[in-house]
């Protein structure tokens, strides 16, 4: 009596191939292109930085010259003020020391004729 079974056989046309090959679809530009792009962007950026540095140098000179143009004006004003205070101090000293013999008001303790600013200023 024949046994009721069915031999398990490969499907019609055989098994399909085993998928052992890499399957990586193309996504975006290649490595060289990205490297080149990054390099290009960086080069442009550094170029702008260099231009900006040159420009900052000019801006600094502009600021310096603006200040230089104002130096005589401010110096003249502060000179008048210093002179006024010096004269007042001299008058004060003369008044205070009038009874001291041999005292020269306003005499410097140095023998150098070069001008030096006063050490003490009454504000």
């Amino acid at each position: 009596m024949p046994t009721a079974y069915r031999q398990d056989m490969p499907p019609e046309g055989g098994f399909e191939m085993i998928k052992y090959k890499r399957n990586l679809p193309f996504r975006g530009p290649g490595g060289l292109a990205i490297l080149g792009g990054v390099l290009a962007v960086c080069t442009y950026g550094m170029y702008r930085v260099a231009l900006g540095n040159l420009e900052r140098r000019e801006l600094r000179r502009e600021k310096t010259w603006a200040r230089l143009h104002l130096v005589p004006l401010l110096l003249a004003e502060s000179d008048r003020d210093t002179y006024r205070r010096q004269q007042a101090a001299l008058a004060r000293e003369t008044e205070i020391m009038k009874n001291v013999e041999g005292w020269e008001p306003g005499k410097s303790v140095y023998n150098n004729p070069k001008h030096r600013p006063q050490e003490f200023v009454v504000i």
Binding site: P72, R80, T82
Partner: protein, 155 residues
């Protein structure tokens, strides 16, 4: 400072209100704050060149404040004259520019727009031109560059 009488000061008893000796001619101090001075700096440099150089040469001879009082008065008078002229001729542009400087940390590069109108007005009315000495040959002066890298908005 020198143009305050000192008597109203709250600094205490050490204020010296003594005025200048009568032998020295009086000159009205300029009394202009920093932003208008900065706005007018290059015009002062152009307008008062001779007086400024004379004063600085005199200071080079001797640093004593008594030595250059005459030259100093001339410098101050010239600057006051220029400020008055600016206020007569270009007061709107002048106020705009120094107001802008006041609001922008007194940086010229952030105030190019009002500066250009002021420069134009000063050149048209008074014939004074802003020139920055030492700019490399053949290069546009930095205040005339149309599209600079450093401006109000960093890009």
């Amino acid at each position: 400072m020198s143009y305050k009488d000192g008597t109203k000061s709250t600094l205490g008893p050490y204020v010296d209100p003594t005025p200048l000796p009568a032998s020295v001619p009086q000159v009205a101090e300029l009394g202009v704050t920093s932003a208008p001075l900065k706005s007018a700096a290059f015009f002062i440099g152009a307008h008062c060149k001779e007086y400024n150089e004379d004063f600085m040469l005199c200071k080079n001879e001797n640093r004593d404040p008594a030595h250059c009082l005459l030259e100093g008065r001339r410098v101050t008078r010239c600057a006051a004259d220029l400020i008055n002229k600016m206020r007569e001729n270009c007061v709107k542009e002048f106020n705009e520019h120094w107001g802008c400087l006041e609001l922008n940390n007194q940086e010229y590069y952030r105030c190019r727009k009002p500066e250009r109108t002021l420069n134009k007005c000063m050149f048209d009315k008074l014939g004074l031109k802003k020139v920055i000495p030492g700019t490399p040959e053949g290069q546009t002066q930095i205040h005339e560059v149309e599209n600079p890298i450093h401006k109000r908005m960093q890009k």
